[in-house]
């Protein structure tokens, strides 16, 4: 990889409580002992600034790890070396459809190896898990995260456990089973399953990617923001529209933009990029709180949306996501199931990108933000599209028309031709 670095030479010193600032060693811990606030990675930005430059980064392989000094791995990454650096697609046809001049899609539908942005966070979490000596890794998930942990653990030779709600669709279960992981399906209401997963995570000493490895895991999301800026020719966009589940991706994209300034790769912008949150109306705790002018959200007890990957009623980073949106003068919007499907179809039919339901949410919310004037028509916009449509085909099945069936005769095809083009 060419990023030789030993543990004594790492660019992060430990963890720090986001609430009270107490410092902790770089261990597999995630909550402050005093106020239960979330722990974050503390970097030595001065040292990183001396170690990185645009030229050095450009010479590195095209993966998320070209920004490795700003990711919390002590040595060389050992899991997911090819993850990231997905295309930033200039979308002229979709831009016209939305009434925009300049629009890009950060296309993580083609992220390696499991076609979602979760490969970014999982590769960081598992690389760090190996450094800390874990032999078993685990997660609790309803889809993309489970697939990514299963695949990346298989490739790394780590034993893995994936906890899922018992009523999960068969296709999603298969997407993890195929990698030889141990899938454990848990019956019961969401809150009971959630608490059990916490107990399991804290009992067995496993590397639980989104629990005790969460401070490291969450940092992987920043790579999406770093890549957007580099792929724009070291410029910030005016707007970024981010799908919101736990709120982690949104906060980390903001953090990535700030860190590029801290390490001297970017100058402080005159106006920060506006970061907008996109949710499904059937589970929109953050969007609702934002629209009501509140800085805390009301938990959604029973999410009801086809965008299941965003259906988190109690977003762990919700409070911080609302803060970021307010700080950057962004907005929050939400989209109905019908609008989500329309968004998926619009992205597919204008740009050839088949997104999962979360992408439909992002497109639909961007459309609303443009129509309401909250995003200016002459401003540049990046849409974060986070997972492939093949993962949620049931959402659009039967809603994209039907093939026209004909017999094996040229005359029958000519009738179709005449319908489409008129008589030749």
């Amino acid at each position: 990889m060419g990023f030789i670095m030993d543990k004594k030479n790492r660019f992060f010193s430990g963890l720090v409580c986001r609430e009270c600032g107490r410092k902790y060693p770089p261990a597999a811990i995630h909550v402050c002992e005093y106020d239960f606030g979330p722990l974050e990675v503390a970097y030595d930005y001065g040292r990183i600034a001396k170690a990185v430059s645009r030229e050095k980064l450009a010479a590195r392989p095209e993966s998320m790890w070209r920004f490795r000094e700003l990711l919390p791995v002590a040595g060389d990454p050992t899991v997911g070396a090819q993850v990231g650096y997905t295309p930033l697609v200039k979308c002229n046809r979709l831009a016209r459809a939305l009434g925009l001049k300049t629009l890009y899609v950060k296309n993580d539908t083609v992220n390696y190896p499991t076609l979602s942005f979760k490969d970014r966070v999982v590769s960081v979490a598992l690389s760090r898990a190996r450094e800390m000596g874990f032999h078993v890794v685990a997660c609790a998930s309803t889809g993309n995260l489970a697939n990514s942990v299963a695949a990346n653990a298989a490739a790394a030779g780590l034993k893995s456990y994936v906890l899922i709600p018992a009523d999960l669709e068969a296709g999603k279960v298969l997407g993890s089973l195929i990698f030889g992981t141990n899938v454990v399906a848990i019956t019961g209401a969401y809150d009971q399953v959630n608490r059990l997963c916490s107990e399991i995570a804290n009992k067995y000493g496993w590397g639980f990617v989104n629990v005790n490895l969460r401070p490291y895991y969450a940092e992987g999301s920043k790579s999406m923001g770093f890549e957007i800026v580099e792929q724009l020719g070291w410029e910030y966009p005016d707007n970024v529209v981010v799908p919101v589940a736990s709120g982690s991706l949104l906060t980390k994209i903001h953090k990535s933009f700030q860190e590029l300034v801290k390490v001297g790769l970017m100058k402080e912008p005159r106006a920060p990029a506006k970061i907008h949150g996109a949710q499904a109306t059937g589970c929109s705790p953050i969007s609702t709180a934002f629209k009501e002018g509140k800085d805390f959200y009301r938990p959604v007890q029973h999410p009801k949306t086809i965008a299941k990957s965003l259906a988190i009623g109690t977003p762990a980073d919700g409070y911080y996501a609302i803060q970021v949106v307010n700080q950057t003068k962004g907005e929050c919007e939400d989209a109905s199931d019908e609008e989500i499907i329309e968004g998926i179809r619009l992205l597919a039919s204008t740009e050839g990108i088949f997104s999962e339901t979360a992408g439909g949410v992002t497109v639909a919310c961007a459309k609303k933000l443009v129509q309401s004037g909250k995003i200016g028509k002459h401003e540049s916009v990046v849409l974060c599209i986070t997972g492939h449509g093949l993962k949620t085909q049931e959402a659009v099945a039967g809603k994209c028309g039907q093939p026209r069936i004909i017999g094996p005769k040229l005359g029958e095809f000519e009738k179709i031709y005449e319908e489409d083009f008129g008589k030749s």
Binding site: V31, D35, F36, S141, D191, C197, A201, S246, T314
Partner: protein
């Protein structure tokens, strides 16, 4: 034999941490005090934010697993949401 007795008698206490979301109708009720009087549980508050609309409290409970479960069931019966300190352990 003595070791077995010790294991069954003493080793079952554990600490678990939760976020409680208290609805508007219960924000004036002394929930934490009630826990301490109804159950053999030691409570310790990490953070609390209580407004006229809702209360959010991070709470450590120390006691036997069975008693902690009873407290959770009691709180949920009152319509208080009880989440692990990680809030969401299940992701998309």
């Amino acid at each position: 034999m003595a070791a077995k007795t010790k294991k069954t008698m003493g080793a079952k206490k554990e600490k678990r941490r939760f976020w409680l979301t208290i609805p508007q109708k219960l924000v004036r009720r002394p929930i934490i005090w009630e826990i301490g009087h109804k159950y053999p549980i030691v409570t310790n508050i990490g953070q609390a934010s209580v407004t006229p609309e809702m209360g959010i409290i991070s709470l450590e409970m120390e006691g036997r697993r069975e008693d902690i479960r009873k407290v959770i069931a009691w709180l949920e019966g009152l319509t208080i949401k009880v989440e692990p300190v990680e809030i969401g352990t299940i992701e998309g």
